[in-house]
Structure formats: structure tokens, C-alpha cells
Amino acid sequence: MTTTTPGTAAGSTTAPGAVGTAHTRVEGRDKVTGTARYAGEIPFTELAHGWLVLSTIARGRIRSVDDTTVLAMPGVLTVLHHGNAPRVEGDFTSMIGVPPDPSALLFQHDRVPHVGWPVALVVAETSEQAREAAESLVVHYERETHDVAFRSDHRDDRTNLPTAGDEADVTDKGDMAAELAASPVVVDEEYTTPEEHHTTMEPHAVTARWEDGRLDVVDSNQGTTWVAGELTQLFSLDPASVRVRSEHVGGGFGSKRVRAHQVAAVMAASALERPVRVVLTRRQTFALGGYRSPTAQRLRLGAGTDGRLRALEHDSLNQTSTMDTFVEPSAGATRVMYDAEAHRTANRAVPLDVPTPTFMRAPGEAPGSFALESALDELAERCGIDPIELRVRNEPERGPVSGLPFGSRNLLACFREGAEQFGWAERDPRPGTRREGRWLLGTGTAGASFPSGAVPSTAALTAEPDGSFTTRIAAADIGTGARTALTLVTADALEVPPERVRVRIADSDFGPAMIAGGSMGTRSWAWAVTAAAGELRERLALNADIPPEGITVRSDTTEAIGGLSAKERHSFGAQFAEVAVDTGSGEVRVRRMLGVFAAGRIVNPLTARSQFLGGMTWGLSMALHEEATRDENTGGLVGGDLAGYHIASHADVPSMEAHWVDDPDPDDPVGIKGIGEVGIVGAAAAVANAVWHATGVRHRDLPIRPDRVLSAADGREA
């Protein structure tokens, strides 16, 4: 499974041990036997159940919440809304440098900014009673006209917004007009991706209660100290009085942060002085769980006949809400992947009467790579150059925008390895020439990248008197295998077998730690664990006797991470796909996919492979299936559930392989880069490029639905 094309050499890979060896999940048995409990199923005495009521209008004001009838319904305990809810404090920046999600500022005003905005919480003795009452609650609205229609021409009539976070709004170098004019080959196309949702297998769920003067929150989230910090700020509490736990999480993908349901549960638990649970329905996760904005991206490429880029422009527009600016940084990939004399990127957003979009697996790179890597394929076609050779010719020495050296960049090693395994050399570049029955066959490839980073974290390591070791870190295992990875990292750092290590995670009492996000969780946590292990080994060398309470050391990586030199640090990958297309029915089927990645040292090959395959499957799904439909008249989603929102089924994913090349990060104590997101990057472009190779028709709008394939066939006939 693992391949070993030499990448950057680093001493850290030479140590034998648990890291790099396949291990099943330490909690795997609990999960498959059902003994692992998730946030919505942990019992509490006196538990009350809250049910959110969501707005049915897209813009306007709440005139009144008619709660009298509902309060008389069986089991109903209270109805919270903007007229009676406590005030919360929303003016802060959370530990990951972003403001709270607007839905966390719950019941603070009468304004309705989108369909699905939470307008009330009904709390009752049972979940069924709460739901029945919530669905009976009459809310009177004052409607205003709304606009939910995302169009690329919004760029002409709407104000451009500043970009949130550290993604620069615009980068610009060289003379774009002159380089384009001087380029014998030009690609100038628009690519679009639709609204996409990351509804998780386990819906968002929380239980909040006051226990011994502390707010105790059992939640499903991607970072317990993140959630604890936001709740502390929102309710102006003493940080020491808030504890958040999140033992098992059935998927996050960027959607599990503080949202309306946790705030509602805390408000109700405070009002009722009872534990209160709020669980979102599947449809509510579509309304309230965040999503990836649709994008409209214009790519302009100018090149010599040899394919060398002279001009490269990537301009991306996405939608945001009227409450907050979330920028999907799709042009970010272009700042890393390819250079040109004239190089310009822009990420812009237009506010509409829609929910605020959020981080969704590979934010920016997922849609951005579809546009960029499709455009590269079009350039290869127009230049008559093999798509991989085109990328070889445009491999930059340094960061195209930053000018910084790369930490390690093994993109071409991925392409070489992938080409060999996929059988790329035998490929006939001509499109539309291979037929098998009613199917046209084609192959495509695309590049991938995602930033690699580490965020300061703390960890505690205890040497127990029985010779075992306990790691405590507020990490989150959102299904990735993080708990297992940290077990292996701890074992190697202490030079003990993994069986002697117990890792406890997902408890904010363990102290600040990075969230499971941005492909930075495992790297950040492993760094903290490794630092603590180093000190513990020194302590143990001095003290042979371990007291009954054990010997505990704590680490904080703030200083070490702050000392990293500025470099372009990224994971890379090459995606390959073979598709079959029936232009008579419009059906597209992926026959096989291969991804080869350079993503740092791989801690656990078993779960890493799953994570890559999961990303690639999502990319396939993005290419062919995923699309949320918003009704322009109502402003709401149509079919906003897993019956209406199609993701790839098993039958859509016949043969899929993930491999990696040796690529340890020389500046990371374990050599880790991060693998969470890069698997999806480029996958949709590889599929789309394969569809072109099969049919001779470019699909620049995702998903590549049957009707689009049928219409494209019309175009060719015309």
C-alpha cells in the first residue's frame, strides 16, 4: 500500500516504533459494539429536551412568538425566544482567530437573516413532546424582500468585502494585461461550484447542565477548549467554571463548532436549573450546520506554446450572509501551485439573505483546485502537451506569491509515482475516441495542495506507578483516528509499546489545544505530546520511584512553534481518475481513482489511508453529485436532507486507491504535515478532466449531472 519514493530526507523517519505501523483504532471495539456513547445518548437524571424552531422566512422581523398555546401542551417546560432570552456577549475573537458563528448570538434580536434562523427553543420533558410543541409554535413575521440568488455577475453590482482571517484579499504581481497579450495560448474560462453541505453521520448534539457551580457541557464538537472558550465569552463566565467534553464524535468536517444549539441548551439549563439536551434533526443540520458557499471562479491563463505560464489569474467569488463575512478562499491554491510573470489572485464575497457559510473540508482548496486544475488541463489540451508534463514545466522554485522557500514540495514525485501506478504513459491524449458499448472512456489527472501548520497546544503526560502512561490533551477525534495516532506518538516518544499508553482526549479541563481542523490537529497535538514526553523521560531518569499519584509533566508548544522560520509549508498530491460516460443518458461513472500524496510522515497507515480515500470519495461526490438547491422565492433549501442532497453511494465508488511518497516535514518533531484535507483537493478536477477526455466536452459547472452531459452533447451536435 505504501510507496517509498524518496522525498526530503529527515532523521525522524528512521526511528523504528509504533508510528508508521498500521494500528486499528483503540476505541474501535467500543464503536462497533455500540458501547461508545455519543453526546446525544449519554443519560442524565432530570434531563429535559429542547427543540429549536427555525424561521420560515428569508428576511424580515419577528412580530411575535405566540407561545401561550404551546406552554399549555403536555410536558412543555419553557419557550425561549428573543423576548425572554438572556443577553449574550458576541464581541470577541475565538482561539482560532475568528468571531463566533452568528447563530451563536441566539435570540438577541427580532431580525431574521435567512430561512432556518433559530427563532425559539421549546423545552419539554421528552424529546417527542418538545418536537410536537416546537412544530406547533406560531411565529408571526414581518416579511421583507430577500435575495438568495448567487450569480457571478453579483461582482458588478455588490460591494466587495474584506476577507476574514489571514487570507489576503488580493495578491497581484506583474503586468497581467501585457503578459496575456503576449501569450500565444490563452485560457479564459469561468468555473462554478454549487452550495455544498457537510452534514455529519452524527447530528449536532449537546447536553448542558450546571453541576457544583460549573457549567458542564457534553457535546459533539471539533475542539473542547474552543467550545469552552466561546461559551465562556458568550455567557461572560469565569473560564475555570466551564467544562466541555466531547468523547466520541461522528464526523465534523468543519461544521462542529459553537452554533445555536449549544447556546440554546446553556440558556435553558440555566433557566430551568436542569440538564437540557438539544439535538438537531437531519434537516436542521442542513439549515444550521454551516455549508460551503457556491463559488464562481474566473481563471485566466496565458502561456507560451511550450506551456510555460506567463500569466495566471484566479478570481473567486462566493456568497456570505448579511451577518458576517465568510470568504471561501478558493484562489489560495493558485498562490501555492504555479507561478507566472503576471500572477493575480482574488477572493471576494457577496452578502445574500442566506446562512453564513463555514469551513468545509479543504475550505478554498476544494473548489479552488477544481477551477485551477481544470484550467491547467485546458491549457495542456490547447498547447498539445501532456497534463503532467505541463505541471513539470511550471513547477515553481519558491512560493509564487510569498517568494519563500518550500518546506518540502514533492508534488512532482506524486505525479511520477501516480503516473506509473495508474498507467498514464499508455494514455492516448485525444478526447472522445474510446468506446465500450454505450460508454465513452477517459482518464484525467489533477494536482493537489493544502497548507500544513501547527498551532500552540498543551498536553499533560503522567507516568503511572504501574508502569503505564497517561496522556491528557484536549484533542478531538472526529472519526479520523486521532486518539489512536496520539497513542502511537506517545509510545514512540517514550520508547514504550503502545499497549502501555492510555490517551484521554476531548476534555477542556486538560487545557488549551488545537481543534481538529485545518489539517493541523494531529501535528499540533503530537508536537505537544512529544515535548511533554521528552521532559517526562528526563524526570524519570532522575526519579526511579513513581509516587502513587504518578509523575506528571505539562508541555506548551507556544514558544517552539513561534520559533518556526517562515516557509511555504504544504501537503501535496496527484489525483487520477478513469470515467465512463454515456452521452445518451448523461450518466457518468467513475471506474477507478488513484491518489498519491506527499503529506508528511504518516502516523497510522491504516487510518491515514481511510482519510485519504474519504477525501477522494468526497471529491468524486463533489464532481458528480453534490448540490444543494435553494428556492429563490422562499429562500430555503429544497430537499435539504440526505434524500434530496445526493452524495456518492457505494456503487459510485468502485475502485479507489491511496498511496503516499516519503515526505517527512523536517521542521516537525514527528515529521507530520497533516492529511485531513488534501485528499479531496484536485479530485473533482481529475474526474472532470477525465470526462473531457472521454467525451471531448469540458464541464466547468459542478456537479456534472446527467442533464448537463445531455445538454453538452446537444452543443456538440449543433
Partner: protein, 330 residues
């Protein structure tokens, strides 16, 4: 979710009596659609009468060489039945093209016929829908109608019937049997579903309080060479955006007998009578098949976002009939 009564019926008259005892009762078969609709509030029955244990789970040959299929036969069992596979292969293919293995194990023949549309406005109680709330309006015509009807719709409703099984049954002249408190009755499938007109909430001609007891397929030698082709937006586990059930008997290059029915084009499984009329006695070949498709689709009234279905259905009809012709020639 409201509380409701649940009762299991032991025999058909008992089931009918239980249903008629409560004006807001529903029969529960496999529950694969009704229970979902109860969760979302589209259906709010006071009582469920579980009919799945009724002695209607047999598939039997009739004297004239047809099949009598009990209403509670599961979709899985029907698909696997040797007589269905041999004599009506398109029915097996249609059944296996639907839903998932788990759902097919639960879903019944009677329930399959009575399943409701998956139109996104029908399944969202926050939305107007003439089918769910008569007179409230139809947002689909101006809104999301990508998978809506091109045939037989009205300004009041453009939803499609989601059944795959029903399309094959329509092609093979199925007759639906039912029982009411007053006795037994029968309805040919073509008369079973009512025209949409201005009453999209009235979907079938079943008398009030009737229980479907079974479906009879008349003998149809042509059905032994039949196919079902379904196109959907992923490889499995999705409703059709277009489907064709067809049976073809070609002798000496001439169409002797033909059956064609279409799915995901109308509020009911759509028997393509106009296409059959063109094909009967015509030379078997692409020109005839295309002419037949065009004859059927001449009545199509597509909306902006489902116009692709006209081409899709035309291509599918030509493709499936061509495959059947080639199969006959082998």
C-alpha cells in the same frame, strides 16, 4: 411527533374494519415511506393499522398463465421470484433498481403503489403544496423542478410518481385488487392513478377505506423479453430521473408485440400507448423506435429545468428497444 395508536390486523376484513373505525387512520405496510412522512409531519395519522402480517404474501400463477401477487409480498421476494424473473424480467429489474436492499426487504407491493412523490415541496411542511394542502399553491413550476413531470401534469402539480416497480407493472397491464367493507373490487393500473387535473391531492381511484390485496399480471408472452432501464443521479439508491420498461417481440424484422412504459415523467407510471401504436407492425429498427418515442413525447410540456427529460426519454426508448431487438436476433 404526535402520539398515535398502532394495531396489527390479522385478516383482511379485520384490517378494513380497523381502518374504517378511525377517520384519520392509515394502513402501514413496510413503512419505508409512511414512517418518514410521519417524522417530517407530512402524514399525521391518529392510528396505524399494520397489514404486513396479513396472509397476502404469496405469488401464484393464474390459470391463464399470468401471476397473482399478494399485496404484502416484499419487493425483495417479488424480485427474486423465479416466475417473475423468467416471465417478467423487467419487473425484477425495476424492483432491484429501487431503493436499497434493506428497504426492499421491508417495502410491500401494495405500499410501493401508494408511495408518495418525493417532490421537495411536498416533503417540506413549511412549503406550500397543492398535493399536501389543497389550494396552497405549487412552488415547483417556478422553483426546483429538475426532476418533475413532462407528461400529464397540470398547473396545480408537476410532481412525479417515484415507483420503479409501478413502471414495469404498467407495461404489463397489471390489475390492482382491493377490498372494502362492501366487498371486492379491481382497477387496471392505468385507471388506478387519477389524472392530476386540479385535484393533485386525490391520487388514486381506490374507494375510501379500501385495502389493496394484490396485483394480477395477465399472461404476456412478450414480457419474457423485457427490460427496465433507469437513469438516476448516482449509481444506486436514488429515484429515477427517467426510466423505461419495455417488452418487444420481433418476427422477421417486424414488431409483433410491444409494451412500453415510462417512469419519472408523470404523476403516475406512464404507459406509452402512442409509442406502442407507432411500433405495432412497424419494422424493428432505430427509425421506428425514434418515431415511436417522438409520438409519445409530442405531448410533453417540459419546464425550463426538466426539458432534458424529453431527450433522455427519447434516447432511453431507442436504446432499450434496440437492445431488445439485438437480443431477439441472437
Amino acid at each position: 411527533m404526535r402520539e398515535f395508536d398502532y394495531q396489527r390486523a390479522n385478516d383482511v376484513p379485520g384490517a378494513v374494519a380497523l381502518l374504517n373505525a378511525d377517520p384519520n387512520a392509515r394502513f402501514l405496510g413496510g413503512g419505508t415511506n409512511l414512517v418518514d412522512l410521519m417524522k417530517t409531519g407530512v402524514e399525521r395519522p391518529d392510528r396505524l393499522v399494520d397489514v404486513r402480517e396479513l396472509p397476502l404474501d404469496q405469488v401464484e400463477s393464474t390459470e391463464d398463465g399470468g401471476l397473482r401477487i399478494g399485496a404484502t409480498v416484499s419487493n425483495s421476494d417479488l424480485a427474486a421470484h423465479p416466475d417473475v424473473r423468467r416471465r417478467y424480467p423487467a419487473l425484477t429489474q425495476a424492483l432491484l433498481a429501487g431503493a436499497s436492499g434493506q428497504l426492499r426487504n421491508m417495502a410491500t407491493v401494495g405500499g410501493n403503489l401508494l408511495q408518495r412523490t418525493r417532490c421537495g415541496y411536498f416533503t417540506d411542511v413549511a412549503s406550500p403544496c397543492n398535493k399536501r394542502v389543497p389550494g396552497s399553491g405549487c412552488p415547483a413550476r417556478e422553483g426546483a423542478h429538475h426532476n418533475h413531470a413532462i407528461l400529464g401534469a397540470s398547473e396545480h402539480c408537476v410532481a412525479v410518481h417515484p415507483s420503479d416497480m409501478g413502471v414495469a407493472l404498467a407495461a404489463f397491464d397489471a390489475v390492482v385488487s382491493y377490498e372494502t367493507a362492501d366487498g371486492l373490487g379491481e382497477l387496471p393500473l392505468e385507471e388506478f392513478y387519477l389524472p392530476v387535473a386540479d385535484t393533485p391531492h386525490r391520487e388514486t381511484a381506490l374507494p375510501s377505506g379500501a385495502l389493496i390485496t394484490g396485483v394480477t399480471l395477465p399472461a404476456a408472452p412478450v414480457a419474457a423479453r423485457s427490460r427496465y432501464r433507469k437513469v438516476r443521479e448516482r449509481a444506486s439508491y436514488a429515484f429515477a430521473i427517467g426510466s423505461v420498461a419495455a417488452a418487444l417481440d420481433v418476427q422477421d424484422g417486424v414488431v409483433r408485440d410491444v409494451r412500453v412504459a415510462l417512469g419519472a415523467v408523470a404523476s403516475r407510471p406512464w404507459r406509452a400507448r402512442a409509442a406502442e401504436a407507432v411500433l405495432s407492425g412497424a419494422p424493428a429498427g432505430e427509425a421506428s423506435f425514434a418515431a415511436a418515442a417522438d409520438a409519445e413525447l409530442a405531448a410533453a410540456e417540459p419546464l425550463p429545468d426538466n426539458a432534458y427529460k424529453v431527450k433522455l426519454i427519447r434516447n432511453l426508448m431507442v436504446s432499450v428497444l434496440t437492445e431488445l431487438t439485438e437480443e431477439a436476433a441472437r
